[in-house]
């Protein structure tokens, strides 16, 4: 079997632990030695080393980095969804003569304040985790969850305000977009709350080892990233809905 020989080689030679990460965006095979014809074949083939596969390290197979990469990729697709809806919004605003901007429900200021402060608290949570201050970490997570739920509640109240003014989904295109965009954003935010709950549940148990601890931090980082993105997205939608009308 081919891989036997390879294995021996790996376990005996790979000890480096101070390699650096590069950004995923710059991920090119710059290290790959090339033959003159440029195909990474033939010639003296040195593998361009990446993660050591040694026993006490993360191998490529369970590197916590994936949470961050995965989250950025997920955000790209969420961004595309909102880009599509934005372009629909802009096009629709320009067609037809039935575009009647709705009055902004006052409650949205509360929403904005809540979500902005939740970004702050999740940053504090992460900082606590880094300091290994687990009680503070849990506390801030909990506060973030509460703020997130508060945001959703104020969104619902804003809907109630509109309904009270007899502004419904089908009333006019602007109200349709208002309900749609807030609903889609809210659904994504709810996903973020589930992410926070997951972190919270997780934080009740102590990490089994440092490796698990690092993974936990990576997961917290990914959720925080998502949360900040939802925050920024809300600000963007807020501006879009009530400036571009």
């Amino acid at each position: 079997m081919k891989y036997k020989a390879v294995t021996e080689m790996v376990t005996t030679t790979v000890t480096t632990t101070d390699q650096l990460t590069t950004k995923k965006g710059t991920a090119t095979g710059k290290g790959g030695p090339r033959t003159p014809k440029g195909l990474g074949g033939g010639g003296p083939n040195r593998p361009n080393g990446r993660g050591p596969g040694g026993g006490d390290q993360f191998s490529a197979q369970d590197s916590p980095e994936r949470y961050r990469i995965g989250m950025w990729i997920a955000l790209a697709s969420i961004l595309m969804l909102f880009t599509a809806l934005t372009s629909a919004y802009i096009v629709r605003a320009g067609t037809g003569n039935d575009w009647r901007p709705i009055e902004m429900p006052r409650m949205l200021w509360a929403s904005t304040a809540l979500i902005l402060s939740s970004s702050l608290t999740i940053s504090l949570a992460r900082r606590s985790l880094k300091r290994k201050d687990h009680p503070a970490y849990k506390r801030w997570l909990l506060v973030t969850v509460v703020l997130g739920l508060g945001f959703l509640a104020t969104q619902l109240l804003a809907w109630r305000q509109l309904v009270a003014q007899q502004v419904y989904v089908a009333t006019n295109p602007h109200s349709a977009f208002f309900y749609l965009l807030t609903a889609v954003h809210g659904a994504h935010l709810l996903g973020g709350i589930f992410g926070l709950d997951y972190l919270l549940l997780r934080s009740w148990r102590k990490a089994a080892n440092e490796k698990a601890e690092i993974k936990r931090e990576a997961a917290a980082g990914a959720v925080a990233l998502y949360w900040h993105f939802m925050d920024g997205l809300w600000i963007y939608l807020f501006l879009l809905l009530f400036l571009w009308r």
């Binding site: 650096l20 095979g29 195909l39 593998p47 995965g70 790209a76």
Partner: protein
Amino acid sequence: MAEVEPVQETHAEHGTHAHGEVHRHPAPTGFIRKYIFSVDHKVIGIQYLLLAMFSVFVGLILSILMRVRLTWPTTGLPGLEWFFGPEAAPGGVMNPEVYLALVTMHGTMMVFFVLTTAPQGGFGNYFLPIQIGADDMAFPVLNMLSFWVTFVGLVVLCAAFFVTGGAPTGGWTGYPTLSAVGELLNVPGMGRGTDLWIISIAIFCVASLLGALNFLTTMLNMRARGLSLMRLPLTCWGWFTTAVLALLAFPVLLGGGILLLLDRMAGTSFFVPGGLSNGETLLPHSGGSPILWQHLFWFFGHPEVYIAILPGMGATSHILSTFARKPVFGYRAMVFAMFGIGLLGFFVWGHHMFISGMNPYTAMTFSILTLSIGVPSAVKTFNWLGTLWGGKIRFTTPMLFAIGFVSLFVAGGITGIVLGQTSLDLPMHDTYFVLGHFHLVMGVAAIFGMFAGVYFWFPKMFGRMMSERLGRFHFWITFAGVYAIFIPMHIMGIVGMPRRYAQFTEYKFLETLHPLVVFVTIAVFVTATVQLVFLFNFIWSLFKGEKAGDNPWEATTLEWATTSPPPHDNFAGIPQTVYRGPYEFSVPGAPRDYIMQTEPDPAAQAAPGAINEVQGGNGDGHHNGHDH
């Protein structure tokens, strides 16, 4: 740029993970965990393949029924009355709306649940992790979810056959206002059937996004040591580019689908303008734009074409090189051509809309961009020929299908330069010319890529060879058959035969085409029947096929460096190291005519420290302390 926190270097024991999501999941034992809700990418890959195989046969049956309707629009077949019921097929003649339902379901089934799932979800899932030396996808649970969400999408779509009002009849493009207000206009199939159709597609979008996220993370983060990007097999590049396209295209379709659903259910008017009438009263909508849907749809729809074909391109390159016993000609050019196709694929959607009422100046821009996408496609073709040139070609069944792919890709793709021109689109738009074009290139060529993949990887997946004799028979008839089906369609299009007509009896200018219509139908019958040979071969070989070795094709990439089938974690827990490019065939001086990627060469063994000299920039920051 993400924030990167400093992470402590650790020397922890291999202990039990506190995480729920433990990556190195142990091999499951129970049946349900092992075969149904499995998180093993290999099982999920096979599940995707089976789902696609079910869908492709359903889609095929639908297309046979379509040909029956087209060829004998007035002849009753008693079986059909029994099959569809007396309302839908009185006297054994399908109603025209039944024909449109067949069109819609055939298109949706094939595009989403075959062309998108099989190459990417099926083969990609199974082989991407193995080819990069990983033990699974980056997020195994997510992977399982994406399959089951796809499955739900398929169930919802199939349910549309059985709801009152019938299956959707708006075509797979579902243009409003027909799809939005069809029910108010009493068009059959525009009720619950269309709702389910949209919901199914929305579900599918979510599933594809989860899949794409997983593919990209896996490929960026989990490559084996030494596997720099330019050493990846071209299959991986195909899946990677496809995942990028899916990631950016499906959200747009999802957005469009939500808007359309709101128009139908909540009474909004995103796509429906005012002043529409059903002949008695005005419809309760105003101000929307039907063209907006077309933009959103085709912004997704055109990349979707490449989502279908790029994995096939990857597999073809992989297989051509293996059986020509030659390195891929112009590896870098191949990779860049894929990127070029992927990138340009996002800027050409307007060529579906030249005559839709879009700004004619915009149409001109789209036309020029569209023809430039022919350039990377041509580059790929040249490089395939270059790969074969000077080879020692072994004509195994997968090789036959890969060569067939090249032939069909050229035949189908080249007419794109007709359709991509604004002025020629005037006569050609929405005729059978278009049908012939896209079926050859995104339908049949992509299917040939899949067939090549099945014959090539079957031994790896199931440990047994497929029958070469049956495989060759399958190839000869299918290859000739698809040409016989789709080339005449171009001619029909030149005469002016429009798509989506339930019959061609109403126009004099179409009457002369009757012999061709009959010819195509016969070719469809023959070709479709031969697919049963494939099905038989597949099932028979599962149990009775000749036992396959680990590397029956004498190939070079990582999937052949493990057992057939691979163990639960692909390489029995042994980390893989890659020493060279993916297609080192016929290296002068080497003992055999192939050198596997995992074979160390003498220099590396002599100076093992060299391994860490070069830094492969691929974002694997498992324990870095710095943010660059």
